[in-house]
């Protein structure tokens, strides 16, 4: 469905995307993961026809976007990470407007807009003004807007960012429904556990380069020799993080609100010694357990460093 070959986007000397290649198969949900500034948004904007690449190719359904940008745009529904809405416009009028932009007639647009508003659970808000909607509702409306012309490919840039947990769950449910409808979806997110649940394929990008790409199972296998531990401590996490950073068998570390995830490269004996060492060092350990490798630990392993935003 989407083939990206040696994509480069330069801003002066800075290479936002640096020779990125990837492939998304039809009907797949492709999770695009990477730290801030990795080049996710730039890549997505290039796919959506909003940025011209410095070099490289983007082919959507066999058509090079550079050869037929308007034709490719018809096949793509794009939802940016940040977007505005028009004041003084009602939800149905908003949908009507974008239907008109895609050349749909009034009768057709009313029907499709009604169905899409039902899909994103905004039917009750159809006569409300767009600027009066909550952030979550606006995100859902923007998703409905991106679907108005029935695109084959959805490019969703951080669709769950800024949403409360309930709105995130709702967004996840909608994306599952879209997957069932046979849409191909490219989605970027920082919420890695959520991506691992719904994505069929994952691509991890850093500094504009693809580090690893493939199905979730393939990626899990690639790094499954690593063990991961989850440690809960009482109070401040920093002393525990500092202690772990000094330990020989510890790889990447991610600190959450009340726990620490760390890659562990040792055996059972060294793991027991690690726990003993922490207690001896006066760190108030509440729990210490081995966890199965998840996408987050894989991401941290591949990109390195401490992630302060882990959940």
């Amino acid at each position: 469905m989407v083939i990206i070959e040696e994509l480069v986007k330069k801003y002066g000397k800075f290479r936002a995307v640096d020779g990125l290649s990837m492939e998304i198969e039809k009907g797949h949900i492709y999770g695009f993961v990477g730290p801030n500034g990795a080049g996710k948004t730039t890549t997505m904007k290039i796919i959506a026809g909003l940025l011209k690449p410095t070099s490289g190719r983007v082919v959507v359904n066999g058509v090079d976007i550079a050869d037929d940008p308007r034709g490719v745009k018809k096949k793509i529904g794009y939802m940016p990470d940040f977007f505005g809405v028009y004041d003084d416009l009602k939800v149905t009028e908003y949908m009507d407007f974008y239907a008109g932009v895609y050349g749909m007639d009034r009768r057709e647009s009313v029907k499709i807009a009604g169905e899409l508003l039902e899909l994103v659970d905004l039917t009750e808000k159809k006569d409300s003004y767009v600027d009066s909607l909550s952030r979550g509702m606006k995100q859902r409306l923007c998703l409905a807007r991106s679907l108005i012309h029935n695109p084959e490919l959805l490019v969703l840039d951080e669709p769950a960012s800024g949403l409360d947990p309930r709105a995130r769950v709702e967004m996840k449910e909608i994306l599952k429904e879209l997957k069932d409808m046979g849409k191909t979806i490219l989605i970027s997110s920082h919420i890695l556990p959520e991506l691992s649940e719904m994505c069929t394929s994952i691509g991890i990008i850093e500094r504009g380069r693809m580090i690893v790409s493939g199905t979730v199972e393939e990626i899990m296998k690639k790094v499954s020799h690593k063990r991961a531990i989850r440690i809960k401590v009482l109070g401040e996490l920093d002393p525990a993080v500092r202690f772990l950073q000094e330990q020989p068998y510890i790889g990447s570390i991610s600190a959450g609100n009340d726990h620490i995830n760390a890659d562990f490269d040792g055996n059972g004996e060294t793991m027991a010694q690690l726990l003993k060492g922490m207690v001896t060092a006066g760190i108030p350990v509440m729990s210490f357990s081995e966890t199965e490798g998840n996408l987050e630990s894989i991401f941290m392993h591949l990109t390195g460093g401490v992630n302060d935003n882990a959940n």
């Binding site: 904007k45 026809g49 745009k73 940040f82 028009y86 009507d96 008109g100 895609y102 050349g103 923007c142």
Partner: protein, 328 residues
Amino acid sequence: MQINPIISKDLKIKMRGWKAPVLLTVYMVFLGLVVFLNFFGSRIFSPYDYYQFNPAVALNSYNSLATLQLLLLMFITPALTGGIISGERERQTLDLLLCTNLPTSSIITGKIVVATAHVLLLITASLPVMGTVFLYGGIRITDLLLLFAFYLATALMLGSMGAFYSSIFKKSSVSMILSYITLMVFLVGTSIAYTMWSSFSSRYTGKPPDIAQAMYFMFANPSYGFSSLVEGGNQGIGIPFVGNIFSFGMYGPYGGMPYGSGSGMVTTAIKPWMVNMAFDIIISAIFITLASIRIKPIKRLWRRRRSGIKISLLHAVNHLEKTVGSSR
């Protein structure tokens, strides 16, 4: 044929609420008042009999209103069009438009139409008020329609200029300021250039300046076409008010009207308003095209041309290498 969705959406937003009808009402009351005071004042201060009507009063009202509306158009349109594209950028809605398959030219023209529509609505609504002059004669319906066409051309020129600057600069305020500066160059700059040239040429040739040559300097000046149009419309009676506002010191043989009926014609066939409107249409087309290209994310034509040049260069290099290789 489908109406440009940007026009239908933006007009709906603009006309929603109480502001638009209130503005229209206030404006109409104001114009009505101007006409009333013109007639009333002329009767009070008239040296003639109270019941005797002077037709110049009606023409005076017509010219005053026509001038007022041109001033309104010139000074409000840049403010409305300066944020056409930059406003969409600031609101973060431009990407949502550009990722659709709507041509960028439709986005630009739709936005220009909407931004100028408000001013044009006020002017259209004022046509009946201006039409009071028909009760007394002196102005034909075609003159009024021609004046309206001139307003349209001027609004188009100013709107497309605002759109052009707005497509280049991120801040609406910058594009507004540049639009006003360009308008001032058109209005004042061209007049100064002509005045300087005519005074120099008179000094060295010893002949009076040729009014017809004003066209070469003033073709971009909205007041140039307008003055000829208004005075031409009233059959050369001549209302100094209009001429004095726009003549910028270029006094013709008919009391400050260098472009008036007979005096201001470039030729008998080509009149200043024709030159001015032609300029407006041509420059608008250029501005709209440039703005459309500017906001287009992927410029297909350029890419093909560039890749074509690249391929041609590669072929040339290959050919050169083969030639050099075979000669060795």
